[in-house]
């Protein structure tokens, strides 16, 4: 972490600019660079334009509710009082459940595919996992509603309620639809992404790492856990971040199984809502600047949270890389 930065990195932008643009190059190079630069700038421009548009549409709600928008739990279209807390809570809670379930499972699948599976099984199994990512979310949502939710209601929730019911997490009537169902469907959706990326990073670990470990007399498990996984750590973290990104923004499937309540509660069986599903279900019929503004502000909050997760994710990846480098030296 405390690595002294290379001088070139400090002046990176200046150096980069000079190398690419100040040095007279052939006209073809110049044209290509300009086009590429414009493409890059248009992306930034789009982001800025979107933010400005959202801010503008959300302005009535921003000025009316201020920061209270984030701490209030009321969503009352009749009185025109809107608060985002239950939706923010629902998004974070379901994403947390999803990560808790998806990361261990997909890591296991990735290790199996990259390290343990016999070669003839590798390709078809990887293909199947990737197929899972190709299922449209509305189809997954339907499956969730008609197949997964009844199973969650009985036996999962009934059993959790009767055996672990002393925990506030597992209290209340088992509806089937709710935070738990929302989190699990998100886990299924995040799983293929995390698996695919993690498997690729594991496959990219040089064989010399494994061979060295095995040559020292390590078992298969030791080789994987001490040599392969640490080497691929940053890639695995990045895989998790990608999965989390998907979980945070996913709308359709969650809407169908989360129950569309609006509350902040520790009870996982309770119907809840996420920001994305709140926007999706209510935007069509919303009337009045304040109502629409509140939904748009919800989008803005979701935008900010996704951005924050990405920034934190980047930092995490950089930090694990730095740590690995320090460890390596």
């Amino acid at each position: 972490m405390a690595r002294a930065p290379h001088p070139q990195e400090v002046h990176a932008p200046v150096w980069w600019w000079r190398a690419r643009f100040r040095r007279p190059a052939s006209p073809g190079d110049w044209v290509f660079q300009t086009i590429a630069l414009l493409a890059a700038l248009s992306l930034v421009g789009l982001l800025v334009a979107m933010t400005l548009y959202l801010l503008n549409a959300a302005w009535p709600a921003v000025t009316r509710f201020g920061l209270g928008f984030l701490t209030s739990s009321t969503w009352d279209p009749v009185q025109e009082v809107f608060g985002a807390l239950p939706a923010v809570y629902g998004t974070l809670l379901t994403s947390a459940i999803a990560m808790l379930v998806a990361i261990p499972v997909s890591l296991g699948v990735a290790i199996f595919l990259a390290e343990l599976a016999p070669p003839w099984l590798r390709a078809p199994a990887s293909f199947l996992v990737e197929m899972l990512a190709a299922i449209p979310s509305v189809v997954l949502g339907l499956w969730g509603l008609f197949v997964m939710v009844p199973v969650i209601r009985d036996p999962v929730e009934r059993w959790l309620g009767s055996s672990l019911g002393f925990l506030p997490l597992f209290q209340g009537p088992p509806f089937g639809v709710g935070f738990l169902a929302g989190g699990l469907i998100l886990a299924i959706m995040a799983l293929p992404i995390i698996t695919a990326v993690a498997r690729d990073t594991l496959a990219a670990v040089p064989s010399s790492q494994r061979e060295a470990m095995l040559a020292l007399g390590a078992t298969r498990w030791e080789a994987i856990s001490r040599a392969v996984l640490p080497y691929a750590r940053s890639g695995i973290v990045a895989a998790g971040i990608l999965g989390l990104g998907r979980a945070l923004g996913e709308t359709m499937a969650v809407t169908m199984v989360i129950g569309n309540g609006y509350q902040v509660t520790a009870r996982l069986f309770a119907p809840g809502n996420t920001m994305a599903s709140k926007i999706a279900t209510e935007f069509n019929e919303a009337s009045g600047d304040l109502y629409i503004g509140s939904l748009v502000e919800l989008a803005l909050v979701l935008f900010a949270i996704t951005l924050m997760v990405n920034v934190v994710g980047r930092l995490l990846v950089r930090w694990t890389v730095a740590k690995a480098r320090v460890g390596g030296q």
Partner: protein, 385 residues
């Protein structure tokens, strides 16, 4: 490391540029060579067609409307049938009542549609830009209260308005509650939790339902109120009628509300509701039409007929309206529109019952006729009768 990377990158960069340039050149060649002769060919072939179509008044007039999803099956049937008898093609988008009101306010459609009455604010905003907006009734619908109780069928559970309101207020939370048991002495109701299901999207169905609850329960009126979307005291939301129906069918002990047409088509068990004359009535088309009888209908037809005093009426019923600009700006389109409206409230009504909508009662038809007659273009009434 970095040095070697630089040197290896350079060729690949150049290769990319080369590939890109090659692609552009190829595309240009293809565009010039391949696409050249074809358009002239089609132009020649298509020339006869445009010369025949714009021949005076015979051309097809296109009207665009958008709004309520509830009457969509009926409207699409109507506009389909109407296109056969007149040269008017109506394109109706079922984007929801709220969307319909918004589109009318923005002036992006020729007419809107809604299951709810526009609020004073909404109406003022729209009228500022486009002049008076009429609510012309088209048909009637009812909202059925449906439940999922093992072994208990349609019409077997009897509910009073205050019990229904208290269930939705989450004050009655079990089916074995003494107030429900009192109404249903013959039924074996278990100690099950009542899971209350509501619409999660804004909806005209919710508007009618909450309008009814606001009329029969003071507490509901104060705490929750009447709108297309409200702050629900409880439980589960489902998107659309199918979402609510799906939840009710799946989860034991649920109660929900869906359009009568939807409940009928899906054989759902519905409650018999005590009406304002203290009679228990099951939802049906006749009971829906009855709701508009014996209630004074105002000339502007902006009336909610929930909790009707007619002894045979089902309590949760309502009109659905088309929202029409009284001052039309395009006289050709305006004339076509009033003709469609006139046809819909007369000839069109015969299609309603088979699609589970209740035909307008005579009184409502008279009021609608008067409204259609009041539509003008440049100050001249458009309807020639």
């Amino acid at each position: 490391m970095q040095e070697t990377r630089k040197t290896t990158k350079l060729p690949s960069n150049m290769a990319l540029v080369a590939a890109g340039l090659a692609a552009i050149v190829l595309a240009l060649v293809a565009a010039c060579g391949g696409a050249g002769p074809t358009p002239t060919g089609t132009q020649v072939g298509q020339q006869p067609t445009p010369t025949t179509t714009p021949s005076g008044s015979q051309s097809t007039i296109r009207l665009n409307g958008a709004g309520a999803t509830f009457p969509f099956p009926l409207y699409s049937r109507w506009f389909d049938e109407y296109a056969r008898v007149a040269k008017t093609q109506v394109n109706y988008q079922s984007i929801g009542s709220g969307g319909g009101i918004r589109q009318v306010t923005e002036g992006t459609v020729d007419f809107g549609a809604s299951d709810g009455i526009m609020t004073n604010d909404q109406q003022a905003k729209a009228e500022q830009a486009h002049g008076p907006i009429l609510h012309i009734p088209m048909t009637m619908g009812a909202v059925a209260v449906v439940y999922n109780l093992q072994g208990i069928g349609a019409g077997q559970v009897k509910l009073t308005p205050d019990v229904l309101a208290d269930i939705y207020l989450k004050k009655i939370t079990r089916w074995s509650d003494s107030r429900i048991a009192q109404l249903n002495p013959g039924l074996n109701l278990s100690n099950q939790d009542i899971a209350v299901v509501h619409r999660s999207d804004g909806s005209g169905t919710t508007f009618i339902f909450t309008n009814y609850l606001s009329k029969v329960s003071q507490e509901w009126k104060e705490k929750v109120g009447n709108a297309t979307a409200v702050n629900w005291p409880g439980d589960i939301g489902g998107q659309g009628n199918e979402g609510v129906a799906g939840q009710v069918r799946q989860i034991p002990g649920t109660i929900g509300y869906v359009e009568l047409a939807y409940a009928t088509q899906n054989n759902m068990a519905w409650a018999a509701l005590q009406n304002a004359s203290s009679k228990f009535v099951e939802p049906s088309l006749q009971a829906t039409s009855k709701a508009a009888l014996g209630v004074p209908l105002p000339d502007d037809m902006k009336v909610m007929i929930t909790n009707s005093t007619n002894p045979e009426a089902y309590s949760i019923a309502g009109f659905t309206w088309l929202l029409v600009y009284r001052n039309q700006t395009d006289c050709t389109k305006g004339k076509a529109l009033v003709d469609v409206l006139w046809w819909a409230i007369h000839d069109g009504q015969q299609y309603a019952p088979s699609l589970q909508y209740a035909p307008l009662p005579d009184d409502a038809v008279r009021k609608a006729e008067a409204q259609i007659r009041s539509v003008t273009c440049n100050g001249q009434p458009l309807l020639g009768r």
